[in-house]
C-alpha cells in the first residue's frame, strides 16, 4: 500500500469501508434490539438511524469536496472563536424550554421539529476545530505555560458548559479528554504535562474516594455521584440505577464465546433499559458472543489505525491535529462505552460510535470522518 498515493489525494477506501461495516452492524443491532419496543412500526428506530446516517454521509462528502483551504480558514483566529461560540450558543438554547426536548431525566436535545439535535455533539467537533486551529496557528505557544493553560482553560470551560447545561458528564469528559490529549500531542514541555497530569490525577482520585467513602444517603446525592456509587457495587443499588448495569452484565455473561445467535437475545426484550442505545454492546455480546465483541473492537482498531496513519502522513499541523482529535474522540467514546457496559467505569451514558442508536452522534461522527478523509486527500 503506497502512502504516497494516499497523501496525494486518493479517496480513503479503508476508512470508508470500515465505517460502512460498523454502520451496517449498527443498523442490524439496532433492528434486533429496538423492534420489540418500537411499537407499531418495527423499523421506526432503524429508519431514523438510517436517515441520520444519510445526513451524516452528505456532511461527510460535502466536507470532502469543499476546498481544504476553507477548512484551514475556519481554524484561523477570528473564525474558530465564532465556530466555538456558535456551538456553545446552541448549547445555551437548551435553556429555552420551547426548543428543548427532555428524556431520561435530562435536557440534552434541541427540538428541530423533524430532528432532535444534541448540541454537545456540535461542541465536540467545534472543540476539535478550535484546538487544532489554535495550536497550528502558532505551534510553539503551547510550549509556554500561558499558551497551554489558555487553550486548556477554553477546553475545560466548554466541558463545564456541556456538563452544567445538558447535565451530560460523559460528553464533558470526552471534550476535556480530546482537548487534553491534543495538547499533550502538541506540547513539548514535559514540565507542563507533569504539572497538569499531577493536579488532574490527584483531583480525580480524591473525588472518587470521597464519593465511595462518604456515607451519604444514596437518595440525596447528585445523579452522577449516585452512578459512581452504583458502579462500586451494582447489586447493592439495583433500584438506583444498578439495574441497568447488572442486566447488561447478565447479557454479556450469558452470551458465551459464540453468543445466542443474532436476534435471539433474551435480555433485550425488557430487562435492559435503553438497550438500543448506550447498552447495545451488551446485546452484541449476548447475541454474537465474545467473538462478535472482538470483531467489533477489531473494526474500531482498524478505523483508529487508519486515522493514526493519516495523522502521521498529514502535510500540515492543522490536518494532523484535526485527525488526531477525531481519532481521540472515537477512541475515548469506544473505550468509555465498553468500560461502562462491562462495569469497568461508572455508568455515564456514552454511546458506541456508529453502532448505538443516536442521530446526532452518527451525523457528527460521519462529519468528523469527512474531515479526516479530507485531510487524507490532501
Amino acid at each position: 500500500m503506497s502512502n504516497e498515493k494516499r497523501t496525494r489525494g486518493g479517496f480513503d477506501y479503508q476508512l470508508f469501508f470500515v465505517t460502512l461495516l460498523l454502520m451496517i452492524l449498527g443498523i442490524v443491532m439496532i433492528y434486533s434490539t429496538s423492534t420489540y419496543r418500537a411499537g407499531e412500526d418495527p423499523y421506526s428506530f432503524v429508519k431514523r438511524q438510517v436517515l441520520a446516517e444519510i445526513l451524516g454521509s452528505i456532511a461527510l462528502f460535502t466536507i470532502y469536496f469543499i476546498p481544504y483551504s476553507w477548512l484551514k480558514f475556519m481554524g484561523r483566529a477570528p473564525l474558530r472563536y465564532i465556530v466555538l461560540g456558535v456551538s456553545l450558543g446552541l448549547l445555551l438554547l437548551l435553556l429555552v424550554p420551547a426548543l428543548s426536548h427532555t428524556a431520561y431525566g435530562a435536557t440534552r436535545w434541541l427540538n428541530l421539529g423533524f430532528f432532535n439535535l444534541q448540541p454537545a455533539e456540535v461542541v465536540k467537533i467545534a472543540v476539535i476545530f478550535f484546538v487544532a486551529g489554535y495550536i497550528s496557528e502558532k505551534p510553539e505557544r503551547v510550549n509556554t505555560l500561558k499558551g497551554y493553560l489558555t487553550c486548556l482553560a477554553v477546553v475545560l470551560f466548554c466541558g463545564l458548559m456541556v456538563y452544567s447545561i445538558s447535565t451530560n458528564l460523559s460528553s464533558a469528559l470526552i471534550i476535556m479528554g480530546i482537548g487534553v490529549i491534543m495538547l499533550f500531542l502538541s506540547c513539548n514541555d514535559w514540565k507542563i504535562h507533569l504539572l497538569v497530569a499531577g493536579i488532574g490525577a490527584v483531583g480525580v482520585y480524591l473525588f472518587v474516594n470521597w464519593i465511595i467513602n462518604s456515607s451519604m444517603d444514596v437518595n440525596n446525592v447528585d445523579y452522577h455521584f449516585k452512578r459512581i456509587m452504583v458502579w462500586h457495587d451494582p447489586s447493592a443499588y439495583v433500584l438506583d440505577g444498578g439495574y441497568q448495569t447488572l442486566q447488561a452484565l447478565y447479557a454479556i455473561g450469558s452470551g458465551g464465546i459464540t453468543g445466542k445467535g443474532i436476534g435471539k437475545s433474551v435480555q433485550k426484550l425488557s430487562a435492559i433499559p435503553e438497550v438500543h442505545n448506550d447498552m447495545i454492546f451488551s446485546v452484541v455480546c449476548e447475541e454474537l458472543g465474545l467473538v462478535g465483541a472482538v470483531v467489533v473492537l477489531i473494526l474500531f482498531v482498524l478505523l483508529l489505525a487508519r486515522c493514526m496513519m493519516i495523522t502521521l502522513k498529514a502535510k500540515d499541523n492543522f490536518g494532523k491535529l484535526l485527525c488526531a482529535g477525531v481519532m481521540m474522540h472515537i477512541a475515548i467514546q469506544v473505550i468509555l462505552n465498553i468500560a461502562v457496559v462491562t462495569n469497568t467505569l461508572p455508568n455515564t451514558g456514552v454511546s458506541l460510535p456508529f453502532i448505538s442508536y443516536g442521530g446526532s452522534s452518527a451525523t457528527f461522527l460521519l462529519a468528523e470522518l469527512g474531515l479526516v478523509m479530507k485531510v487524507a486527500k490532501e
Binding site: P97, A98, I135, P139, E140, L173, G177, V180, I181, F184, L185, S186, W190, L194, V196, A197, G198, G200, A201, G203, V204, L239, L249, Y250, A251, I252, G253, S254, G255, G256, I257, K260, K264, V266, Q267, L269, A271, C285, L290, A293, V294, F300, V301, L304, A305, M308, T311, L312, K315, N317, K320, L321, A324, A331, I332, V334, I335, I338, T342, T344
Partner: protein, 784 residues
C-alpha cells in the same frame, strides 16, 4: 482521563528523544500519537479480557439469572361457565366477565411524572384511595402486579378507559401549544385481568333447582352440580417454553367456554308456585306451634304430563343464590327456628355443660372465652342451618305419600283386572285381617264407617277399608311389581344433584307381610319422594306412559348452537289407556264430589287426589298433607303436586289437607290462563268476584256486582246500578286516577272520587284500571 494521560506521559517520556522525521513543521506529534495509539490498543485488549472474564466467571450464573427473569411460567386464561336459562330463554344463572385492576408500580415509577395523573384517574373512576395508591407505588417501585380492586364490571372498565383517552387527548392538545409539558395518564401502568363471576339475576328464584357455585367455580346442588362438567369449559393457557438452550417461545391456547343449559322450567310458573307457598307459610306462622312458619317444608312440582318435563319445582324455605350462606333474607322467626333445628341453644347465660369444670375455676376469663365460643357456635349453627336450606325438598326428602298412594293402588287393581269399576266395598269403620295372634285391626279414618262404596267412591272418600280390601285382591306380588313399575323405591334419575335413594324405604318380598301390604294400599308404611310421586301420577293421567322426569331440554354451546336436545324419555307403559281414563274420571270425582273440592280453581274442571299421612317415628302426631292435581280434567296437560310437611295450621290432620288443596288452587288459577288453557266451567258469583279481585277475569265477561260476597276478599258492596266499564288513566305526577268525565282526580285505592261514588277495581296491570262508575245523573242525585 487524567490518569490515562498520566500514563501516556510516562510512556511518552521514554520515546521523547526519538527524532521525528514526519514532522513537516516544527510540531512533533508522531511519537506521541503512536504511544497514545498503543495505549488505546492496550485498553481495548483490557476490555476484551474483561468481557471474557465476565463470561468465564459469571457466565453460567448469569445465564440462569437471565432465564429466571423470563416469564415462561404459564398464565391461565379463565373460561366462562355456561348460563342456565328457563324454557323461554330467561336467564337464571350466568357468568359475567369482571376485571381485576392491576397496578404495575414498576412501569409507573419509570415515568415518575405520570404517577399523579394516573392515581387521580383511578381515584376518580374507581374511588380508590389516592394516598394509599401513591404510598404503594412509592414503596413498591419494583412491583409489577398488585390487585387493587376486584370484580370491576365491564362498564366501569370502559368508563375508565374513556376517561384516560379523553384526558390524554386533552393533554396532547395542551402540550402542542405550550412550553410546559403536562404529564399524561400512564396507560401501561394500569391493566385489567379477566375473571368471571357467577350471578343469579333472580336471586331466590328456583334456588333449590339451580344450585350455586363455590368460589372456585364448582357447582353445588341442583343443576349447577349435576351439569357441572357441561357448564364448565376448559381454561386456556398462555405459556412460554424454552425452544433449545436459551431461546424463548410463547404460545396461547384459548379457553373453551362452557355450554348453556335450557331448562324445562318456566320462570313465571316457578315464581307463582314460590309466591303461593310463601304466602301460605307466612300466613300460617305460629298458628298451631309457636315460633314456626306454616310448615317445616312445603314443596310444589308442576310437570308436563306428556313429556316428563318439570315446569316448576319450588320449595319453602328458600335461600338467595347470590349469597347462599345468608339467612337474613328469611323472616326472623324462621331464622331462629332453623337455628334451633341446627342444634343452637342460646345458652349464653347458662353454664355450658361440657365446660363445667373449667367454668368453676376461672369464671371471669371464661366469660370472654364464652363470648367467643358463643359467636363461634352461632356461626357454626348458622352454617348448618343454611346448609339445610340448600337441599331440594322435592327430590331429597322422603315421606309417606298417604292417600295420594291410594290412586296407585286402585290403578294397580284396575290394570291387573283384580279390581273392577263396579265393585262394591263395604266399610264398617275398621278391618281386621290375619288370624289368631297375628290378627290386626286397622281403622278407617271415618271410624263410623263409610258404608258400601263403589271403587270410584272409595277413591273420592279416600276410604282405607275399601283400599285394604282391594289390596287383598291384588296381592303382595302384584302390588310390589306395580310399585316398581311406578318407580317407587327407585330413583327417577331426574337430572338434578342430590336425589334421594328410597330403595330401603319401600317393602320388598321379604319385608312385606300382610300388615305392610295393608298399610301400603293407603299410602302408609313406605316412603317416596315428591318427584317419584309426581312422575308416577303423570303416567296415570296421560294414558299410562311413564316418562322420566327431567329439568333440562337443551344444551347450547357458547355461540348458541344446539349441542344436544334432550327428548322426553318414555320408560314404560305402566297402566293401559283405559285404566288411565278411569283414573282421570276418579280424580275428577275427588275434586267434584270428594275430599278435594277446595282445589278447584274458578272456571276450570280439574281432577286430583288429596293425601294425609301421619308422620312415623316422631313420638307426637305430625302430618304430611298433600294434593296431587291435574288440569284440565278432560285432557290433562299438567300435574300440580303440593306437599306440606308438618303443617302448622290450627286444624291438624285431615283438616289440614285442604291447605294443600288451596295452594294448588291458587297456583292453577294463575298458571292455567298463562298456559292458554281456557276456562270451561260456568263461574259462580263468588268466583267472579274473586277473579275480579285478582284481575284475572276474562276480558269479555261483563262485570256484575253481587251482594253475597261474604268472604273477606270480596268486592265492596253496592247496589246494582247501570254501570259501564271504562279505562281510567292514572296521572303520573300525582298517582291519582283521572276521571275521564270531568278530569278530576280519583283515589285509585279507596275508589273515593272527589265528586262521585264509584267502585274502582285496580287491575294488576298498573297504569290502566277498570272502574265501574255511576252514571253522572246518578251521582248528582246522590249528592243532592
Amino acid at each position: 482521563m487524567a490518569e490515562n494521560s498520566k500514563n501516556k506521559q510516562a510512556r511518552g517520556r521514554r520515546k521523547r528523544k526519538r527524532p521525528d522525521a514526519q514532522s513537516v513543521l516544527n510540531l512533533n506529534i508522531a511519537g506521541k500519537i503512536v504511544v497514545v495509539s498503543a495505549i488505546i490498543l492496550l485498553l481495548f485488549g483490557f476490555l476484551v479480557v474483561r468481557i471474557a472474564r465476565i463470561m468465564r466467571d459469571n457466565g453460567d450464573q448469569y445465564k440462569k439469572q437471565v432465564l429466571s427473569q423470563q416469564e415462561y411460567d404459564s398464565v391461565t386464561i379463565p373460561f366462562r361457565r355456561g348460563s342456565i336459562t328457563d324454557r323461554n330463554g330467561v336467564i337464571l344463572a350466568h357468568s359475567e366477565r369482571v376485571y381485576n385492576l392491576i397496578v404495575d408500580s414498576y412501569v409507573l415509577t419509570d415515568e415518575e411524572d405520570t404517577i399523579e395523573p394516573t392515581v387521580m384517574a383511578l381515584n376518580e373512576c374507581f374511588g380508590l384511595d389516592a394516598a394509599e395508591l401513591r404510598g404503594y407505588i412509592r414503596d413498591n417501585g419494583n412491583s409489577r402486579y398488585h390487585i387493587f380492586k376486584k370484580e370491576i364490571s365491564y362498564d366501569e372498565r370502559t368508563a375508565y378507559e374513556e376517561y384516560v383517552e379523553n384526558y390524554n387527548n386533552e393533554i396532547n392538545e395542551f402540550n402542542k401549544g405550550s412550553e410546559i409539558k403536562r404529564p399524561k395518564i400512564n396507560k401501561n401502568g394500569v391493566w385489567f385481568e379477566d375473571q368471571f363471576k357467577r350471578s343469579y339475576p333472580n336471586g331466590t328464584l328456583a334456588c333449590d333447582v339451580i344450585g350455586f357455585t363455590t368460589k372456585d367455580g364448582r357447582g353445588q346442588y341442583g343443576l349447577e352440580e349435576y351439569y357441572d362438567s357441561t357448564l364448565s369449559g376448559s381454561n386456556g393457557r398462555e405459556y412460554g417454553y424454552l425452544l433449545d438452550e436459551n431461546a424463548l417461545e410463547r404460545t396461547v391456547v384459548p379457553a373453551v367456554n362452557g355450554n348453556t343449559l335450557v331448562s324445562t322450567m318456566d320462570s313465571y310458573i316457578q315464581r307463582v308456585c314460590e309466591e303461593k307457598i310463601k304466602e301460605y307459610n307466612e300466613e300460617h306462622a305460629d298458628e298451631y306451634r309457636e315460633g314456626e312458619m306454616g310448615s317445616d317444608n312445603t314443596g310444589v312440582i308442576v310437570m308436563d304430563v306428556h313429556t316428563g318435563e318439570v315446569l316448576a319445582m319450588a320449595s319453602y324455605p328458600y335461600f338467595d343464590l347470590n349469597d347462599p350462606g345468608n339467612l337474613d333474607i328469611l323472616p326472623e322467626e324462621l331464622q331462629s327456628y332453623l337455628l334451633e333445628k341446627a342444634g343452637w341453644k342460646d345458652s349464653k347465660d347458662d353454664e355450658d355443660k361440657n365446660d363445667e369444670d373449667e367454668d368453676d375455676e376461672e369464671e371471669e376469663e371464661s366469660s370472654k372465652e364464652k363470648e367467643q365460643s358463643y359467636q363461634e357456635r352461632l356461626e357454626a349453627c348458622r352454617q348448618k342451618a343454611s346448609q339445610s336450606l340448600w337441599k331440594n325438598f322435592c327430590i331429597s326428602q322422603s315421606y309417606e305419600p298417604g292417600s295420594v298412594g291410594k290412586t296407585f293402588t286402585v290403578a294397580m287393581g284396575l290394570d291387573s283386572g283384580t279390581v273392577h269399576d263396579n265393585d262394591v266395598y263395604n266399610c264398617g269403620g275398621y278391618l281386621t285381617f290375619g288370624e289368631g295372634d297375628n290378627a290386626t285391626t286397622i281403622r278407617c279414618h271415618n271410624r263410623y264407617g263409610d258404608g258400601p262404596l263403589t271403587t270410584k267412591e272409595a277413591v273420592e272418600k279416600s276410604c282405607n277399608v275399601a283400599l285394604m280390601l282391594m289390596g287383598q285382591k291384588i296381592g303382595k306380588e302384584r302390588f310390589l311389581e306395580y310399585q316398581k313399575n311406578f318407580n317407587f323405591g327407585l330413583r327417577t334419575n331426574i337430572d338434578l344433584a342430590g336425589e334421594m335413594r328410597t330403595s330401603s324405604l319401600v317393602f320388598n318380598k321379604d319385608t312385606m307381610g300382610i300388615t305392610e301390604l295393608m298399610t301400603s294400599t293407603f299410602g302408609q308404611g313406605f316412603n317416596v319422594t315428591m318427584i317419584q310421586t309426581a312422575a308416577a301420577y303423570c303416567s296415570l293421567v296421560n294414558g299410562g306412559y311413564y316418562y322420566k322426569p327431567h329439568m333440562v331440554k337443551q344444551i347450547l354451546d357458547d355461540d348458541g348452537a344446539v349441542v344436544k336436545n334432550i327428548e322426553p324419555e318414555l320408560l314404560r307403559q305402566v297402566v293401559s289407556e283405559k285404566v288411565s281414563e278411569q283414573m282421570i274420571d276418579y280424580g275428577i270425582g275427588v275434586v267434584e264430589e270428594g275430599t278435594g273440592k277446595k282445589a278447584r280453581p274458578a272456571g276450570y274442571k280439574i281432577g286430583g287426589k288429596t293425601g294425609t299421612a301421619e308422620r312415623s317415628g316422631q313420638g307426637k302426631r305430625d302430618y304430611t298433607v298433600s294434593f296431587m292435581g291435574f288440569a284440565p280434567a278432560d285432557d290433562p296437560q299438567i300435574v300440580v303436586y303440593v306437599v306440606i310437611d308438618r303443617p302448622n295450621t290450627a286444624s291438624q290432620g285431615e283438616n289440614a289437607t285442604r291447605y294443600a288443596c288451596v295452594i294448588c288452587r291458587e297456583i292453577m288459577t294463575e298458571i292455567l290462563p298463562y298456559m292458554h288453557i281456557f276456562m270451561t266451567e260456568e263461574l259462580s258469583e263468588e268466583e267472579k268476584a274473586e277473579l275480579e279481585e285478582r284481575g284475572r277475569l276474562p276480558q269479555d265477561q261483563e262485570i256484575e256486582e253481587n251482594e253475597e260476597g261474604g268472604e273477606s276478599e270480596e268486592s265492596p258492596e253496592e247496589e246494582e246500578e247501570e254501570k259501564e266499564v271504562i279505562n281510567l288513566y292514572i296521572d303520573p305526577n300525582s298517582g291519582y286516577a283521572i276521571d275521564p268525565f270531568n278530569g278530576e282526580y280519583l283515589d285509585p285505592k279507596t275508589g273515593e272520587p272527589i265528586n262521585s261514588d264509584s267502585g274502582i277495581f285496580q287491575n294488576s296491570d298498573g297504569d290502566t284500571i277498570d272502574i265501574t262508575v255511576l252514571k253522572d245523573d246518578e251521582a248528582e242525585e246522590k249528592e243532592d
